[in-house]
């Protein structure tokens, strides 16, 4: 008997009086001890499955059709108390943001103890033993001291291990992991995934692994279900789905993923983005058809039924045979990283940045070295990647380059001028030469300004701000360069999608065509297909506008597709630098090797 079985599961939301389907007729079966990967971009409905299992849907959302059965019991028909019996015991959850998933004012020990008491272990001694055993099994060192600690004293990875320990403490028969590694560093991600796999094997638990990362799912899961716009568009054993995908979306997703797209090929570009819930309500026919490269008139008429391919492998497409014809285009010559280095635009010599923490009563002040001995150069039109984990100092380096903080020692030479001292003259040089594209599109755009005002903000500064007509003209030109329609000019940022906002971010930085762009994790929060669009956009813009870029990222595969040179940063120092392919082929430094090995191997 399957542990979890969904049959035509449908979840609907009520938005302004209209019933909008969020999950449509999703069916799958999960056997005991098996791992199912639920893969999809944001808005596809994958998290909704986890919520449906727990029956903790947001207000206005309800299960309106189909069934969801756990070991033969219908989860939707359970009463509140019966469901609470199951949650935490037979069904456990591993959350996405580990640091915020634990009560900040209670110790780890107290929370674990409460959980074990809820599971029915009566004696305190027994609970303590079990907690220590589980924490050790999660490979946490010194579990005795850990029990006395508070969540804010632990790192993200350690918190996640605690949560995994708590999830498996009850010997559950089903564990639902909703994006458990998204908020963590790359090297930590690999360890956490290993831990989950190990625990799953030990306890023979069935696991639902929800993720946006196709490669991660490929590494871990037995079966994969690909979600698009609330519907499961493909389902099958991992190897089969990835080597011979039946649905065009799966194929496009593979080719748009920089880690899975073959070298020397441009990332596959899917136009626009997944339809929003409101748009979905108005569509008919295959929801993917508007973006599908092989769609025909028939696809738009009615929603494709589930067609079985091979044993246990089906897809919701009426033309699965043409899917493998979708191929990535060869990368354009100008777009291939490896341009001939021209004159040096930015030169950094011996750069240091030290922070002094505040003095406290009797304790003396301590010094933290955020950046040590940084030395590198960027030539005109060169795209250079800066790779490092959180805490490596890459953001600090960006701040030093932009003049947001003065360096403690060293020199920065920008376009021939020494700008180390952050004087007024240095500031003028910087404004004309260097601009930044920020990571979080939410806080990077002033919500009270219209798009046209944001992209031409550079024209508002200075002694002679430009006239309104001039600015609107320029705004429309910039928008079209970014591949956005001119009608977005009068909108507010809140009315745009994440990908569109990020393009506005880029447009604003390019308004006065600086010579160097510093991009700080600009694709980190984006979906794979949107990410691909933005990366190709950057390459195209370079040809048009002629600028160099320092591309900061923690994602090596993205850097590989974009940059001709790479700098690897570890604990404030640049430990390795060189041409991209050389670094990937023969990494010299131990940390570089660690980063490369953390990228999950394919099945």
């Amino acid at each position: 008997m399957s542990v979890l079985e969904a049959r035509d599961l449908t979840v609907t939301a009520r938005m302004s009086g209209i019933a909008v389907p969020v999950l449509r007729e999703v069916s799958f079966r999960l056997g005991p001890g098996r791992i199912l990967g639920v893969v999809g971009e944001s808005g596809a409905g994958k998290s909704m499955i986890g919520r449906a299992i727990a029956h903790l849907l947001p207000s206005g959302f309800a299960i309106t059709g189909g069934s969801l059965q756990f070991e033969g019991r219908n989860l939707t028909e359970l009463r509140h108390r019966q469901r609470r019996e199951l949650l935490g015991r037979a069904i456990s959850f591993i959350p996405q943001g580990p640091l915020s998933a634990l009560n900040p004012v209670r110790t780890i020990g107290r929370q674990f103890d409460e959980h074990l008491a809820h599971l029915g272990i009566r004696r305190r001694e027994e609970r303590r033993e079990r907690a220590l055993a589980m924490l050790s099994a999660a490979r946490l060192s010194d579990p005795w001291r850990l029990l006395e600690r508070y969540p804010h004293q632990l790192s993200g990875g350690m918190c996640q291990r605690v949560l995994i320990a708590m999830a498996f403490a009850s010997n559950p028969r089903l564990v639902v992991a909703d994006e458990p590694t998204t908020a963590l560093d790359l090297t930590i991600q690999a360890h956490i995934v290993e831990l989950i796999a190990q625990m799953q094997q030990q306890h023979a638990t069935a696991l639902v692994f929800i993720t946006h990362d196709l490669r991660l799912a490929a590494h871990l899961c037995d079966e994969i279900m690909v979600m698009y716009a609330g519907r499961a568009v493909e389902y099958g054993p991992t190897r089969a789905v990835l080597s011979a995908p039946a649905h065009p979306y799966t194929r496009c997703l593979q080719l748009a993923n920089p880690a899975m797209c073959p070298q020397g090929r441009a990332l596959y570009l899917l136009p626009e983005q997944m339809p929003s819930l409101r748009e979905l309500a108005r569509m008919s026919g295959c929801r993917f058809a508007p973006r599908c490269p092989v769609a025909t008139q028939e696809c738009l008429q009615s929603e494709p039924p589930i067609i079985s391919h091979a044993a246990n492998h089906w897809a919701a497409c009426i033309r699965p045979q043409v899917t493998l014809q979708i191929v990535a285009q060869p990368a354009l010559p100008g777009a291939i990283p490896g341009a001939i280095p021209a004159r040096s635009l930015l030169q950094v010599e011996n750069l240091h940045k030290r922070y002094i923490t505040a003095r406290h009563m009797l304790r003396s002040a301590t010094e933290i070295s955020a950046v040590r001995n940084a030395e590198f150069g960027i030539a005109a039109n060169e795209f250079v990647g800066l790779v490092g984990e959180s805490g490596s100092g890459k953001s600090t380096l960006a701040k030093l380059l932009l003049g947001l903080e003065p360096p403690s020692a060293g020199r920065i030479v920008l376009d021939g001028e020494d700008v180390t001292d952050c004087s007024a003259h240095a500031r003028q040089v910087r404004i004309a030469t260097v601009q930044m594209v920020f990571q979080d599109p939410q806080s990077a755009l002033n919500p009270r300004r219209r798009v046209a005002s944001i992209v031409t903000q550079a024209m508002e500064a200075g002694r002679q701000p430009a006239a309104r007509d001039e600015r609107i003209k320029r705004a429309k030109a910039l928008l079209s360069d970014m591949g956005l329609s001119a009608e977005l000019a009068m909108r507010y940022p809140a009315q745009l999608s994440g990908g569109q906002r990020q393009r506005i971010n880029v447009a604003r930085a390019l308004c006065k065509v600086p010579k160097i762009l510093v991009a700080d994790e600009v694709v980190s929060g984006l979906d794979v297909s949107i990410q691909a669009q933005l990366l190709q956009l950057l390459l195209r813009l370079r040809d048009e506008f002629q600028f160099a870029m320092l591309f900061i990222s923690h994602d090596l595969s993205v850097v590989r597709h974009l940059c001709s040179r790479v700098l690897v940063m570890y604990r404030g120092e640049i430990v390795e630098q060189g041409p991209t392919e050389a670094i990937f082929a023969q990494p010299q430094h131990a940390h570089t090797r660690a980063l490369l090995s953390a990228v999950p191997a394919e099945y």
Partner: protein, 285 residues
């Protein structure tokens, strides 16, 4: 009409609060026209009369008279004038002083922030009632002195709250972006930060007006407020206290007046705060 304004006006609390405030404002403005008598006119033959609807009441004095024969209704209406003048002028003054300092401290930090912060600490170690009393001792009595005392006591509240808000807004990337694009400090503050703190400012202003009405009433009650010949609700209460057995209405009317005025400002402030929160949620969607 901008979407923000129309969203705000749709809120029930704002409408009712604003309506009450405007009503009081009208009373204050049109006092000489709508008050049946001169508030200082004493009618020693008709003292402590109950309201007109009581058996002993007199139509000529709708709400009755006080211990010196002065018409309660007229004194209430002129008292509204005092309350509204104090509320508006004092809160605006406190807002200007407090928010300018708050913005400067939050944005620039440094030594100015430290000095102002210490000043605020010293100020706030006084209970406001005590501080205003002491200031009135030093300044003397009168309407303008009351306004000055309120400004000098309450600026700290604006300063502290706005400073925290400015600190949060300054952390946002779009403020950094503005600086990188070449905005001067002045341009950054006026075009990026101020629009973000304006909603909070307006909400605090409304709440401050409620506080100002209460402080004026307290000072008049203690005898350190406006001059004895001007009508003020607090003074009416102080007078009526002695005659609480004979004429309880003298006490109740000004009490209700104060409660209604303060509720109106509080309701308006609360409604504004909610409307701005909704707007913020929409902007950040």
């Amino acid at each position: 009409m901008s979407p923000a304004v129309s969203a705000t006006l749709r809120s029930g609390r704002v409408v009712i609060g604003l309506g009450l405030v405007l009503f009081l404002g009208m009373c204050a403005l049109l006092a000489p026209l709508i008050a049946p008598h001169d508030p200082a006119e004493q009618n020693l033959l008709s003292i402590l009369l109950p309201p007109a609807w009581s058996p002993d009441g007199n139509q000529e004095f709708p709400f009755g008279t006080d211990s010196l024969g002065r018409c309660i209704l007229s004194r209430l209406i002129y008292g509204a004038r005092t309350a509204m003048v104090v509320a508006i002028v004092a809160s605006l003054g406190a807002m200007l002083l407090g928010s300018i300092l708050g913005h400067v401290c939050g944005y620039f930090g440094g030594i100015v922030d430290w000095v102002v912060g210490r000043a605020v600490d010293v100020w706030m170690s006084f209970p406001p009632v005590i501080l205003s009393l002491v200031l009135m001792v030093g300044l003397g009595t009168g309407l303008d002195k009351v306004i000055m005392a309120i400004i000098l006591v309450d600026w700290t509240r604006f300063c502290r709250v706005l400073r925290s808000e400015v600190l949060v807004v300054t952390q946002r990337d779009y403020v950094t972006a503005a600086r990188l694009l070449g905005f001067t400090h002045w341009q950054t503050i006026t075009r990026e930060i101020l629009p973000a703190t304006l909603p909070l400012l307006i909400t605090l202003l409304s709440l401050e007006m409620a506080v100002a009405v209460v402080v004026e009433a307290i000072l008049s009650f203690v005898g350190l407020g406006v001059r004895a010949d001007e009508a003020a609700w607090g003074q009416m209460i102080a007078d009526a206290r002695q005659y609480i057995y004979q004429s309880p209405w003298n006490l109740l009317f000004p009490m209700f007046a104060i409660i209604i005025a303060v509720s109106a400002f509080n309701l308006l402030g609360d409604g504004l705060r909610r409307a701005f929160d909704v707007r913020l949620a929409q902007l950040a969607r």
